[in-house]
């Protein structure tokens, strides 16, 4: 941890955390077993910061995002907003939801096909009883890049292109003037050509409105495109986090390394074998050890950490801005 801090990082560390997850656990019971979808997460999003959360399917990204929004109640741990723990009374939740907003993967599904653009954007203001509804809607739409806004008021979602729909969804979130935007795979279902546009919009919103964002994705390219910081999640835990430049150019956790390696342009491909992760059966020791290529290749044994990898539980990474990895091997070798 001796690298020089980048500009963004410097800003991030000085900024107080706006939205924070503290030792968050979320469990479901599925098939009569407990699925620990989120299994101890510390994560902080600072004012005006864009954090990318990456990881493979089923690792708990969406669950974490939903829990941060108060749509799911944690089994233990807490969500804090602006320093205060989140209260789950319906009144408090309603107030909270003016501050933190959600953008989903599928803009087509996120819009009620029977509501016009205006109604879709006005839904939030109506729920919260905001005045000057039409102004609010117009402003939100222009912020989202749909200009002039009144041209779109009466359109139905099916009359819009995919990118426009996602902009409407974003406008719907902006209408409540939130501080944080949580976007769950916001571009995964969009055409490649419009993907960049939406990402650019997120960047612009941060610049113009000072919005913070948590972007959930499995696309490392996206993180590279827009995020300040990235958190890599595996089986309910964050296994590596830090500034994008640091984590994505020099990944320290074997799992991050594997994720990087399957990008088409990467020279050497590490395809992980073994069963895909199952949150009802989280292995002991390091939760990644069963699929860990470093352990399998014997490098961990060389470093003398293989025993700990298999048996000893790792600590939960703290919610700091510095680059950090939950890996015995990385700890040992990195020092």
């Amino acid at each position: 941890m001796t690298e020089t801090q980048t500009a963004a990082e410097a800003v991030a560390t000085t900024r107080p955390a706006l939205l924070e997850a503290r030792d968050l656990h979320v469990e479901f019971s599925s098939r009569g077993r407990r699925a620990r979808a989120v299994d101890g997460v510390n994560l902080a999003i600072g004012q005006g910061e864009i954090v990318a959360l990456v990881g493979e399917s089923g690792c708990g990204k969406t669950t974490l995002a939903r829990t941060l929004l108060g749509l799911e109640r944690p089994t233990s741990g807490e969500v804090r907003y602006d320093g205060d723990p989140l209260s789950y009374t319906s009144k408090a939740l309603k107030a909270y939801r003016r501050q933190v907003q959600l953008v989903l993967q599928d803009p087509t599904g996120s819009l009620n096909p029977r509501h016009t653009v205006y109604e879709a954007v006005a839904e939030g203001p109506r729920i919260h009883g905001l005045r000057d509804e039409q102004d609010v809607v117009s402003t939100a739409l222009s912020h989202a890049g749909l200009r002039p806004p009144d041209r779109f008021f009466l359109r139905y979602p099916h009359e819009l292109s995919g990118g426009q729909r996602q902009r409407v969804v974003i406008a719907g979130a902006l209408a409540l003037d939130p501080k944080v935007l949580i976007a769950d795979e916001p571009v995964a279902s969009l055409d490649a050509s419009v993907r960049g546009e939406i990402l650019a919009l997120l960047l612009r919103l941060r610049a113009e409105l000072g919005l913070s964002a948590l972007v959930v994705t499995h696309d490392l390219g996206l993180a590279w495109n827009i995020a300040d910081r990235v958190a890599v999640m595996y089986l309910g835990r964050i296994v590596e986090s830090g500034p994008v430049e640091q984590v994505l150019t020099a990944p320290r956790h074997p799992y991050t390394q594997a994720l990087m390696s399957v990008l088409p342009e990467s020279p050497e491909r590490v395809v992980l074998t073994g069963e895909p992760p199952d949150p009802t059966r989280i292995p002991g020791g390091c939760r990644f050890h069963a699929r860990c290529q470093v352990l399998a290749s014997g490098k961990a044994a060389e470093a003398g950490v293989d025993g700990r990898c298999r048996t000893q539980l790792l600590d939960i990474l703290p919610a700091t801005a510095e680059a950090q990895a939950a890996c015995y091997y990385a700890e040992t070798v990195g020092q």
Partner: protein, 293 residues
Amino acid sequence: MTSVSAARRRLALSRFWAEYRQHRGGMIGLIVLVAAVLLALVAPLFISEDVTSVVEGVGEKWAAPSLSEPFGTDESGRSILLMVWWGSRTSLLIGFLAALLSIVIGLVFGVAAGHFRGWLGAALMRITDWFLVLPSLVTALVLAAILGGSTFTIIMAIGITTWPSTARLIRAQTLAVEARPYIERSKALGAGHWHITTRHVLPNVAPLLLASTTLEVASAIVTESTLAFLGASSNKTSWGTMLRASYDFGAATQGAWWYILIPGLAILVVVMAFTLVGRALEAVLNPRLRRAA
């Protein structure tokens, strides 16, 4: 802006209409149905309850259809034509009210069972399932027999025995709607149960409900006639009670085929019309079926 949105709504309606018009069966059904309902509504302008009165029946008894009496007369010399006309009021009324009852119960149960997860939804579903397996005609008969066969009880009996299928349909639709991401989005915007069910779920199940209602009316009319025929109804003149009377007074052995045929055909035509309209509506409104078709 309201005028614009009204125009949009009109446009949507006309689009729906254009699509509906493609269904020949549905169009035929709609014409028949509108005609039947109109005729029933205007009946009091032309005739009165007297046509069903035996005291007023002055015609020849058991008269076969003729020019003056196109559908013949019954055992008391009443005109079958006029009785069928007047009887349509009772039959349609029972059909509509029973369907309405069934739809209202079905809607409340269906939406609630679909919306509220956990024990409430599960309990509602159990109740629905329980009612669903009850053999409906048998149950309706028992209810009518126990509560007496007034119009009100017949409506109750039919409504109570038919709502579960509506509830299931609505619940399935509610579940489908609630699985849509826009519900999640709405929740994230801070919406409560009431907002979600009234703003998102209801408008989405409404079209299906319309289709389902027409089918329910059809089935209620048939059930009413069956109950009347099995003697569980002590209604005023309806098509079912007419058939019952034709049976009681031995139209078959009298060779008075018109007395059996006409009310039966009236039921058949109207029920068929409702069914055709319901199916056409369903085909237009239910995307699942639309995809298959």
